[in-house]
């Protein structure tokens, strides 16, 4: 008897199941968006000439007695007669969609915000100051901004959405290495250029063709940090403390390797979670080990917590060097307050830079975001990636991602941090040379190295907490 009613109910259930599935498919079809582009043809002739010449002096190794000067004239002359067939008369060229994929919410939101603003600054320069991209008939850049929510899965699906639904020609992103790795993999799969603002070595280490990186990533900045402690400051012992996500792990491995190569003794090394509310067990061990300096690979909140707890537990060292990338300098200063004094950070740029391109950057920023505000490294990093991308689009004279990609490989320009030229992995050859060293002095960030960019002298050893 039980069996009879069982099979009857099974019949109903399966029928219902099929019905539900059909409904689901119908619902899905209902959400299906179809976009059609009507072909347009008119005839337009335009001529554009732009010549850019810059030189730069570059020091390749710190503390070395010989200074190699590289004078690099970069001349870009663009003279083009463009005959386009467009049927609709007096229609402005289609805007060029560029995907901007950064964390707008989540733990990395403060850093993501800086990046987006940096890109918006350059877009402003291109659209308003230049009047659009000259070689593409004054086509303006349209930024399609997406939020990774500091989550790799979301980063990947957003990248996919930007490519397949928004039809962007390239993507700039994604700040956090853990989010950038999957997002750039999506871009590679679809054949869309991805100019990364994230530090992990693996981003350009996967043999991908479409991923590029202009700013100095983890490898050179970490090496610089170690070189600074050993060669420049002349110390012999160091503690390496890094947060345990992709970024921190790579900094950790790299610092230990470089320290070993230079003969710098690592008296304590540890990974910690950037969400940990209490770093005292680790800091107490550091206190016991008594290193000359600390090299740290952190994000913002843990960096602030670290200096704060160092003061609380009276952990004194001669220098604290943060490997930049995870720490937005201005926000760090704001949150850490007096504890930030004498802290050193590696970076690619500082607002005391005298380069003309840097001044242009700062002025555009102020116009967009207010005269009392200043861009920081996060914004600079993203600004630079935008510069590189737009330069490539200009030379490509096309919105075909594959053509843009080819143009990217031939990049040769000098930006706010220095020269940019990509190797076969998509990495900037001048990463090490473009790294700057900043320090907090008198409540402000100043550039102390390299010598040509320095506006102040490095102060070390720093006074103990009790003496401040």
């Amino acid at each position: 008897m039980l069996h009879k009613s069982c099979s009857a109910i099974t019949k109903l259930e399966t029928g219902l199941v099929i019905l539900v599935i059909i409904l689901a498919i119908v619902a899905g079809v209902g959400y299906w968006q179809v976009s059609t582009v009507a072909p347009v043809t008119t005839t337009v002739t335009s001529v554009e000439t732009r010549t850019v010449t810059q030189t730069s002096t570059v020091t390749l190794t710190p503390g070395a007695t010989a200074t190699v000067t590289v004078t690099q004239p970069v001349t870009t002359t663009v003279t083009a007669t463009i005959t386009q067939t467009v049927t609709e008369p007096t229609k402005p060229p289609e805007p060029i969609k560029i995907g901007v994929l950064f964390p707008l919410t989540g733990a990395a939101a403060p850093m993501g915000e800086g990046h987006v603003k940096g890109i918006q600054t350059y877009a402003y320069i291109v659209n308003e100051v230049w009047g659009g991209i000259p070689t593409l008939g004054g086509a303006k850049i349209e930024l399609v901004i997406a939020d990774t929510t500091t989550d790799p899965k979301v980063a990947a699906s957003e990248a996919e959405r930007l490519i397949t639904k928004e039809k962007v020609v390239a993507i700039l992103g994604a700040y956090r290495s853990a989010d950038t790795l999957p997002a750039s993999e999506v871009a590679e799969r679809y054949g869309v250029p991805f100019v990364a603002s994230a530090g992990h070595p693996l981003i350009t280490g996967r043999g991908f063709k479409y991923v590029f990186r202009a700013h100095p990533p983890v490898v050179p900045t970490t090496n610089w940090a170690v070189d600074l402690v050993k060669n420049v400051m002349g110390y012999s012992t160091v503690a390496v403390l890094c947060e345990n996500s992709a970024m921190g792990q790579s900094m950790y491995n790299m610092s230990l390797a470089r320290a070993k190569a230079l003969g710098l003794t690592v008296v304590h090394s540890e990974l910690y979670s950037s969400a940990a509310p209490d770093l005292s067990p680790m800091l107490l061990k550091v206190k016991a080990a008594n290193p000359d300096a600390i090299i740290a690979g952190s994000y913002l909140t843990d960096a602030v917590l670290m200096v704060k707890q160092m003061r609380e537990y009276d952990v004194n060292v001669k220098a604290i060097v943060f490997i930049g990338g995870g720490v937005p300098p201005e926000k760090f200063l704001e949150l850490a307050g007096k504890d930030a004094e004498y802290v050193i950070i590696t970076g690619l740029w500082n607002h005391d830079s005298k380069r003309p391109s840097s001044i242009e950057f700062i002025e555009a920023w102020k116009k967009l975001f207010g005269a009392e505000t200043l861009p920081d490294q996060m914004a600079a990093e993203a600004y630079e990636s935008a510069v590189v991308l737009v330069d490539a689009i200009m030379r490509a004279r096309s919105t075909d991602p594959a053509v843009i990609r080819a143009a990217l490989t031939k990049t040769q320009l000098i930006s706010i941090s220095g020269p940019i030229e990509f190797d076969e992995r998509g990495e900037n050859k001048y990463g090490y040379a473009n790294t700057h060293i900043l320090q907090v002095q008198g409540g402000k960030w100043v550039t102390v190295l390299p010598a040509e960019a320095a506006t102040a002298k490095l102060i070390t050893p720093m006074p103990p907490w009790s003496a401040r």
Partner: protein
């Protein structure tokens, strides 16, 4: 004879319909939604073995999912072993993990299995981050791109994944069906209804609970491998996160117990979920998640037998 045919006819017709769907629907978004529907349905069905049939809800099925995904990925990345093989290795490890978790908890009266599984999703996440040299740590592991490589469980197109998850679902449904009708299934039913009475008639409660847990973990691990191969990426958050561990329970509670509950639950939730994500971007996913939590709370309060239960009552009402 006629009854037997009708019992199997409708599911088979449904299956045939699903198989030919890709001939008519070419929008990948729809295929993606269908893949996730069967993904969720499978997950809930596997969870049901221990959560529903044995009456031991687990709050940590992400553990088995993650073990499956990580095992096949680590074996693939380090030793070149095909994920098809790694999948089974992962499943065995997951079954062992289920036994390990069940051993201290099934001996004791009370929802300890739920507690220990919840605690262990946090613990295993911690361990996977700590031993980063072996597991990729918080970064996770990207699956090496091999393009179209069926023997390596990788395809450029979404369609093969669709057929695979469909096949997986058929397998788990069949397993559940046989379970329901078997002696094992009846023992589990007895244990769920009244443990003491079952024990008094000689049912080895402890042993059968463990078997259910192991079976459930075993099948869940397959899903972990599938997901990793589909998204080509795994990290502790994806594998062991709260959403992952909550998913099967949500679908199961919504759909209701029984053979088709998981599919009903999945078929309702998935299109809504994916549409929210596609439409509004990842940012508003939390709104959907909030709703799911609310749905579970409301269903357990007012409709504890889920949608299927409601439908059954409606059906019997109309019959009489």
């Amino acid at each position: 004879m006629v009854k037997k045919v009708t019992k199997f006819l409708l599911p088979l017709v449904g299956l045939a319909a699903l198989c030919v769907v890709p001939l008519f629907i070419t929008d990948l978004t729809i295929i993606h939604i269908l893949i996730y529907t069967f993904f969720f349905a499978y997950f809930a069905a596997a969870w049901n073995i221990v959560g529903s049939y044995a009456g031991q809800p687990s709050l940590g099925h992400a553990i088995f999912f993650g073990i499956g995904g990580y095992t096949s990925s680590i074996l693939f990345i380090n030793y070149g072993i095909s994920p098809w093989v790694g999948m089974f290795v992962g499943a065995i490890l997951a079954a062992l993990a289920a036994l390990a978790l069940g051993f201290p908890t099934f001996r004791v009266r009370g929802p300890f299995f739920a507690f220990i599984t919840l605690a262990f999703t946090l613990l295993i996440s911690l361990l996977f981050v700590y031993f980063h040299d072996y597991t990729g740590g918080a970064t996770g592991l990207p699956v090496p791109l091999k393009g179209d490589a069926p023997h390596l469980f990788q395809f450029n197109s979404k369609l093969p994944y669709y057929y695979i998850i469909l096949a997986f679902f058929c397998v788990i449904t069949y397993v559940t069906y046989r379970l329901e009708k078997s002696k094992f299934g009846y023992y589990l039913l007895a244990i769920r209804e009244d443990e003491d009475a079952a024990a008094s008639v000689g049912v080895h409660v402890f042993k059968y609970k463990l078997m259910a847990a192991a079976l459930s973990g075993f099948f869940t691990a397959f899903l972990g491998t599938f997901y990793t191969q589909y998204t080509r990426f795994i990290d502790p958050h994806e594998a062991f996160g709260l959403w992952r561990t909550f998913q099967p329970m949500l679908i199961s509670v919504l759909g209701g117990p029984g053979l088709w509950g998981p599919l009903v639950g999945a078929a309702i939730i998935t299109p809504i979920n994916e549409s929210i994500i596609m439409f509004f971007g990842g940012r508003y996913a939390t709104v959907g998640m909030m709703l799911y939590g609310l749905i579970v709370m409301l269903i357990i309060l007012f409709m504890p037998s889920g949608i299927v239960g409601v439908l059954r009552r409606v059906y019997t009402h109309f019959r009489s």
